[in-house]
């Protein structure tokens, strides 16, 4: 990340390697990790499928909401007619039990919901987290106290429980995917705010930031030109870990029946009644479960890769990527500044770093 380290002398030839831009260096480091690269390809494919969902279903000639009562055996409780859960040329992955809705269409449209909700929620979390974190670090003592305590409280709230409860009181007329996005985004920004605050406090002490301040630049200018570039690495690292977490939360809420509601398809919601049908239509269980597993796994591996690429020092010390936001490994002793960044603020390391800073 430091520009200086990229300029080095090649032994013997005495030529100077030109400085590489941060983005290119990041890409170069990410490229060397095979697992992360595979994960990146999988994620890219998933995003493509999600974006092209209407196109794909148009090719199949189906849509995710049309009932096909003629394709299920109502005498046997709605079991799909035909072998393998009703797989046919018209319905590539079969049909949903009871309703006869096309599974392929629901699956690819479900990808839209899962990824859309998770990515947008992550953006909301980043936006609030960065604003609160920077404001706390740059503001006066009272601003800092107020924002830091607010962050502590947000971090202390159990995400699933709050999300469940909040989803109960909003009228059902409110578009559900938007609501789920907002709820996840508004509850789980605390960790980013903590990381950003700690990092901003570190950056504030650096020469180039001090120089900009002494030159009479306003706080807005300092924040935008001098601080944000330095915040990019930790924020991107943590955001990459937040995306799979958000996917799981959305799926969990929809599984419980309080998230995205029918007729809008969502992977978690598809699993709600899958256990009843696994014998007659095993793909009704396996498809959404597999989709969830692959998506969260790919995003997690990619997140680890991103972290390794952005912080190779910590990564080499620990072998490979070492855990995700939820695991929140509070870095010990020597790596405590990293620990604060890694812990996602849930662990005491986040608090510990804060205590250091204010001391």
């Amino acid at each position: 990340m430091s520009e200086a380290s990229t300029v080095s002398r090649t032994a013997g030839t005495d030529t100077t390697v030109p400085a590489v831009s941060g983005a290119r260096q990041f890409w170069r480091r990410l490229r060397t990790q095979r697992a992360a690269l595979v994960a990146a390809v999988v994620v890219a494919l998933l995003v493509l499928v999600a974006l092209a969902a209407p196109l794909l279903t148009a090719v199949e000639g189906q849509d995710p909401t049309t009932y096909h009562p003629s394709l299920v055996d109502s005498a046997r409780g709605g079991v799909p007619i035909g072998r393998f859960g009703g797989i046919s040329g018209d319905h590539w992955l079969g049909v949903e039990p009871q309703t006869g809705r096309d599974l392929f269409a629901r699956l690819v449209h479900g990808a839209r919901v899962s990824l859309g909700v998770a990515l947008t929620a992550t953006l909301v979390q980043i936006l609030i987290g960065v604003v609160v974190g920077v404001a706390a670090a740059l503001g006066n003592r009272w601003v800092d106290q107020l924002l830091s305590r607010a962050t502590d409280i947000i971090v202390a709230m159990p995400l699933m429980i709050m999300a469940l409860a909040l989803l109960a009181i909003v009228p059902s007329a409110f578009p559900r995917p938007v609501l789920v996005t907002l709820v996840i985004g508004l509850i789980a920004w605390g960790s980013i705010a903590k990381i950003v605050r700690a990092q901003t406090l570190t950056l504030k002490g650096l020469d180039h930031v001090a120089a900009a301040r002494l030159s009479g630049w306003g706080p807005w200018h300092v924040a935008r030109r001098e601080l944000l570039p330095g915040l990019a690495a930790p924020v991107i690292t943590y955001a990459a870990l937040l995306v799979p977490m958000n996917i799981s939360v959305e799926a969990a809420l929809s599984f419980l029946g309080v998230g995205v509601k029918p007729p809008t398809p969502s992977w978690g919601q598809m699993l709600t009644s899958a256990d009843v049908w696994y014998q007659a239509a095993p793909q009704y269980l396996l498809l959404p479960a597999g989709a969830l597993f692959v998506t969260v796994l790919a995003l997690t591996v990619l997140g680890d890769g991103v972290r390794t690429a952005l912080d190779p020092r910590a990564a080499s010390r620990l072998g490979v990527g070492t855990g995700r936001g939820r695991a929140g490994g509070p870095g010990r002793g020597t790596g405590r500044s990293n620990g604060a960044r890694d812990s996602g603020g849930r662990g005491p390391a986040g608090g510990a770093a804060q205590k250091e800073d204010t001391a």
Partner: protein, 332 residues
């Protein structure tokens, strides 16, 4: 030592402030929602007279802060509710009354608590043993195929939603192989053996997910310790590898594991909600999902407060334990 005492004191005060703040936020969010609060609280089947009565009891004519004060007073000193014909006393700590079932919220929670505690505590033992064990094993076998395998398995574990693992386990173990019956909660006091057998699968579902996080953390912390100077000194003195890994490196993982365990209460509670719903265990989580679905507002508010209370306390305990296990945190 004064430094440590001061730290604990500051943490305790912070915890109380956090708890109060959470109660304010929860109260305001739920009772200042747009829409007819009395109608929502009372439920969809209430007659206009009942709604009127609920509005009176909730003191909807009073400003919000007065109502909140009244709510706090109920928590500390108890409260009386008129049910139309008689007056029901709700002793402290009073969390209010469910107008849909006529039960006191605290009674509902207490009735469900043993199930949730059975689930979470049992699973916790499992995930600590499994997680730390796997972490130690992968450090012990580092550089070999088995380490890579363990790393891959734990990675897959962190990436699997708890209800997916639970679903698959239930279908394979109970449905296909018929090794266990589909879980049905039996109280520990009724039949300890049946209690354990029925909870085995829910425990495993919840524990596998959490264990993965612990395995990764244990491994990372131990590897970090192994790179430190004092370990090199031990090795130079001829301390065997078994003792270096099993005793000294593991000690380095102690503080993070303690901290993660207490900090994981929040996520474990979320996982417990899913596990209970999936397996049909009548615990707090299942009750909360039910209350959310029928919009039983007092129950929802009460449960969020109680769960939030446990999580905040656990976090505070985690900070103190972490400081005990790793004094550098306080000294810094």
């Amino acid at each position: 030592m004064s430094g440590f005492g001061g730290f604990v004191l500051r943490r305790a005060v912070g915890t109380v402030v956090t708890l109060l703040a959470i109660s304010v936020i929860v109260y305001v969010v739920f009772y200042a929602t747009p829409g007819n609060v009395a109608q929502i609280t009372c439920g969809p089947r209430c007659s206009p007279e009942q709604v009127q009565q609920v509005a009176q009891q909730l003191r909807l004519d009073d400003p919000l802060y007065v109502r909140y004060g009244h709510f706090l007073q109920g928590l500390v000193a108890g409260q009386d509710y008129s049910t139309g014909t008689s007056v029901e006393h709700c002793p402290a700590p009073c969390l209010g009354l469910s107008y849909q079932t006529g039960q006191q919220v605290l009674d509902i929670i207490l009735a469900k608590l043993p199930v949730s505690l059975s689930l979470v505590l049992g699973a916790m033992v499992m995930w600590l043993v499994l997680g730390v064990g796997t972490g130690v094993l992968s450090v012990w076998r580092r550089g070999r195929i088995s380490e890579r395998l363990l790393t891959a398995v734990t990675l897959a574990g962190t990436a699997t939603p708890v209800f997916v693992i639970g679903l698959v386990l239930m279908i394979v173990v109970c449905g296909e192989l018929q090794l266990l019956p589909f879980p049905q909660y039996v109280a520990l006091t009724d039949d300890p053996e049946q209690w354990a057998w029925n909870l085995l699968l829910p425990w495993l579902s919840l524990a596998l997910i959490e264990a993965a996080a612990f395995a990764r953390l244990t491994r990372a912390a131990m590897l970090e310790t192994l790179a430190e100077d004092h370990i090199r000194t031990f090795r130079a003195y001829g301390v065997g590898e078994r003792s270096v890994v099993g005793r000294h490196a593991l000690r380095g993982a102690l503080a993070p594991v303690i901290a993660l365990n207490a900090n994981n209460v929040g996520s474990a509670v979320g996982g417990a909600v899913l596990t209970e719903t999936l397996f049909g265990l009548p615990g707090i989580g299942e009750e909360l999902v039910h209350a959310v679905n029928v919009v039983d507002l007092p129950v929802v508010v009460g449960m969020v407060l109680v769960i939030g209370f446990f999580v905040v306390i656990a976090n505070a305990v985690a900070d103190v334990l972490y400081a005990v296990a790793d004094r550098r945190v306080v000294l810094a």
